[in-house]
């Protein structure tokens, strides 16, 4: 997500960097570009204007500072403004006593039912006893959908036909109390904010069930209309939070900024997939960092930690640093990448403009699977020493992986390109080493030191020694582990 705004802003800031001091002229120039980037990211037209005005005021006020570069200055100000625009001053507290009632509302298909399941799952994991209420009596099989989710989670679902949603929701509270539930989650039907009868109905649900929290469930891909729907739901329901769904896509997600701006309701959770454990808390500063192309290192590390085998990751880093990039490493990277999520997401999270650089690299997401198949059809020797891959061997690999010879050739070429790119990246002042130390899990303390040692050795050109030292270290460690 956000990769585009990233790239645009990076372009702008690159120009700032060349520029020297902040002048009215270059501020205006840069801000025009930032405005465009915000618009491309679906931030509402007027909201973008307000934000730019705010930054202009502050930037002009601060232009006397000479100890930092203009780019740093603007980035800092913009980061602060965007963070403030999305952050919440109060943490979300889900009450401990009596049944806490949570109501979900929003447009059709935004993700309410799925999110109801996710929230129930999250709260159950925190030791609560949730009850799901199927208050969508409109959409075909909506009740059935929630029931299936409830079944998967082992969480009861209250469902009834022949009642009105407000009646059902009102009934749900004493039912929950009587059955030992301390959280009640109301899944309401999707509705358009301009549909007066249905907006009255949802207001009635709120009046009857008296929820402690009303969350507006919003699709992260929403464009300019987000302000209209959010405002209308806010007017009827006094929203106290927003849940942004489908953030696992490649949307730039500017709606997050717009909605907060017009309702004041902070984003509380984000949906990152269709599965019931893919709900996470929202972090304004991370989102702002992403918007500004500073790289969401924190999120990346967290995700990397959960999916990448630590030792293998470490080895992969070592390999990268010692110029031993083979098809085996390529394969490992492909697989970790796939587990991490969309390649573009991952790349966008890398700091320092690396994301933008890598995005132009010859890596095509659709082809990941093909590449994987091709590598799997190689012998171990071929994977470790790609140079041996002559035409005969390539033909065999093609047959084995169900690809054409051309396709195999393309993969080998792609690999050579990556290898070349790795070399180039490394020659850029050991950036890769620094990045790897932050990015790869478990690379703290001693391990980080080790990476530094290797980096130093590499600089001296003593690759062989570095590699042998790694081997020795690893063996020693393995012995100790046993």
């Amino acid at each position: 997500m956000f990769e585009s705004i990233n790239q645009n802003l990076q372009k702008v800031f690159a120009r700032f960097q060349r520029g020297g001091k902040l002048t009215d002229g270059n501020i205006q120039d840069g801000l025009r570009e930032i405005r465009q980037a915000l618009l491309d990211a679906d931030v509402h037209f007027k909201v973008a204007k307000d934000l730019i005005d705010e930054v202009t005021n502050r930037a002009v006020g601060e232009k006397v500072i000479e100890s930092v570069t203009p780019a740093q200055q603007i980035i800092k100000i913009f980061h602060d403004v965007l963070t403030a625009a999305m952050a919440s001053d109060k943490p979300l507290v889900i009450g401990q006593h009596g049944p806490t009632v949570i109501m979900l509302a929003g447009l059709q298909g935004s993700g309410k039912t799925t999110t109801a399941g996710k929230l129930a799952n999250l709260l159950k994991k925190r030791g609560r006893q949730p009850l799901l209420v199927a208050a969508d009596l409109q959409r075909p099989a909506a009740i059935e959908q929630l029931k299936v989710l409830g079944q998967q989670l082992g969480i009861p679902v209250l469902a009834k036909t022949g009642v009105t949603p407000p009646d059902l929701c009102a009934e749900a509270i004493p039912f929950a109390r009587a059955n030992g539930h301390d959280v009640v989650i109301l899944d309401t039907a999707g509705r358009l904010h301009i549909d007066e009868p249905l907006m009255q109905e949802v207001a009635a649900v709120k009046a009857r069930a008296k929820p402690h929290h009303v969350f507006f469930v919003c699709d992260a891909m929403t464009g300019q209309d987000a302000v209209n729907s959010a405002r209308a739901f806010h007017e009827r329901l006094a929203l106290d939070g927003v849940i942004l769904t489908k953030l696992d896509g490649d949307t730039r997600g500017g709606a997050a900024i717009s909605i907060r701006h017009v309702t004041g309701a902070p984003v509380r959770f984000v949906g990152l997939g269709e599965k019931l454990d893919q709900l996470e808390e929202f972090h304004a500063d991370r989102m702002a960092s992403r918007v500004l192309g500073m790289g969401d290192v924190v999120s990346l590390v967290e995700r990397a930690q959960s999916v990448v085998d630590e030792k293998q990751a470490e080895e992969a880093v070592t390999k990268l640093l010692t110029d031993e990039f083979t098809f085996e490493d390529f394969l490992f990277q492909l697989r970790s990448m796939k587990k991490l999520g969309p390649l573009k997401d991952v790349l966008a999270m890398l700091p320092g403009g690396l994301g933008a650089q890598l995005q132009n690299a010859p890596i095509d997401e659709k082809q990941l699977d093909r590449v994987e198949a091709v590598i799997c059809s190689m012998t171990r020797e071929e994977r470790l020493r790609p140079d041996v891959l002559d035409v005969d061997r390539r033909r065999r690999v093609a047959r084995g992986s169900g690809n054409s010879l051309d396709q195999v050739n393309a993969v080998v070429k792609q690999f050579a390109g990556m290898r070349q790119m790795m070399k180039q990246l490394k020659s850029q002042s050991g950036l890769m080493g620094k990045m790897a130390a932050r990015f790869m899990p478990g690379m703290s303390g001693a391990k980080q030191h080790k990476a530094q040692v290797i980096e130093e050795m590499r600089k001296k050109g003593d690759l062989l020694r570095a590699k042998r030292k790694m081997e020795r270290d690893r063996k020693k460690q393995n012995r100790r582990r046993r």
Binding site: L39, D40, A41, D42, H44, F45, K46, L107, Q108, G109, S110, G111, T113, Q138, R139, P140, A141, A142, E144, Q145, L146, K147, V148, L149, Q152, L192, H193, I194, D195, E196, D219, M221, T222, G223, Q224, D225, A226, N228, S229, K246, D248, G249, D250, T251, R252, G254, A255, E274, K338, G341, P342, L343, K344, D345, E365, K366, L368, D369
Partner: protein
């Protein structure tokens, strides 16, 4: 056409004052402020970069005195949008029956409901319709489609939850062919374009259909949620790269979102809009009319 859309808009604005302002603005001289306001109108309709391009063109024409009044500029911009949208493009039954239509799109965009609407569209013409429940992933997806199939009088072919969607698609093709149906509509699970494996699954479904019925799928329709912003362009590009998409259906145009992103899609990805969805019922489907659509971009604009 667009009746519901206009009804919706009427609810939200003071028609009288708008009418008054419109009358006062007729023939008024154009100025920069009016152009700025038009830019905002087009942007808030999700036209994105296309809005900038069109306004730039209008500014040039204004400088050259090719357009002079507020009326001129409205005519100018409407034509710009129409030209970008191209000709009307209808969904035709092609090839030897059954004609196979595959429905694709991101999560929750309106695919399943649109299948029901299309099924109704064809059964009303006396055609025999089979539907394939290719979403075996989302909770109660097949149940949802079963209810619709019963309502609109189509035959549903479904697999077990978690079954291979390509296998279900093949079974549906088999049924449609042996029962001599006129149309086969195949539903698929919602997927975000970043999920490479799911995009490949889609290609497989498409290929499998072609194995059973020569030339299938004859149409692949991308269902777009009208509220979608600039991500719509990525959706169109990526789905088109995975399956031979032939057109768009814009669902949920009965809300206040204008769906302007389709202009950029037509310009940059070359996909025409075939139908629009204007409600949650089976007959809330209308053919797409570029002229009407261009006009609707300015609905609610205060001259």
């Amino acid at each position: 056409m667009f009746k519901k859309l206009f009804e919706g808009l009427k609810k939200t604005r003071d028609a009288l004052s708008l009418g008054l302002r419109t009358v006062l603005s007729i023939g008024r001289d154009l100025d920069d402020e009016t152009l700025d306001r038009l830019e905002e109108t087009l942007y808030t309709a999700d036209l994105g970069p296309s809005a900038t391009a069109m306004i730039e063109k209008a500014r040039k024409a204004y400088k050259l005195r090719e357009i002079k009044t507020t009326d001129d500029v409205m005519v100018f911009l409407r034509k710009e949008i129409e030209d970008r949208l191209g000709e009307r493009s209808e969904l035709e039954l092609r090839g030897v029956p059954p004609t196979v239509v595959l429905m694709v799109g991101v999560n929750g965009s309106g695919k399943t409901t649109t299948i029901a609407k299309l099924a109704r569209h064809f059964t009303q013409q006396g055609k025999k319709v089979v539907i394939g429940a290719g979403d075996t992933f989302r909770a109660a997806a097949a149940e949802q489609l079963q209810i619709w199939a019963d309502r609109v009088g189509a035959t549903l072919v479904r697999g077990k939850a978690g079954a291979d969607p390509a296998a279900v698609a093949f079974d549906a093709a088999e049924k449609a062919a042996t029962e001599k149906a006129d149309v086969l509509l195949v539903d698929t699970a919602g997927r975000l374009v970043t999920q490479a494996h799911l995009m490949q699954e889609l290609s497989k479904i498409s290929r499998v259909l072609g194995k059973r019925i020569p030339g299938a799928p004859h149409d692949v329709l991308l269902v777009l949620d009208a509220t979608t912003g600039q991500n719509a362009i990525q959706q169109a590009e990526k789905f088109k790269a995975a399956v031979p998409v032939t057109g768009l259906i814009v669902a949920k145009l009965d809300g206040s979102a204008k769906g302007g992103a389709v202009v950029g899609i037509r310009e940059r990805v070359g996909l025409p809009v075939k139908f629009i969805g204007v409600g949650e019922k089976a007959d809330d489907l209308e053919p797409f009319d570029p002229k009407e659509f261009a006009r609707s971009m300015f609905e609610g604009h205060t001259p």
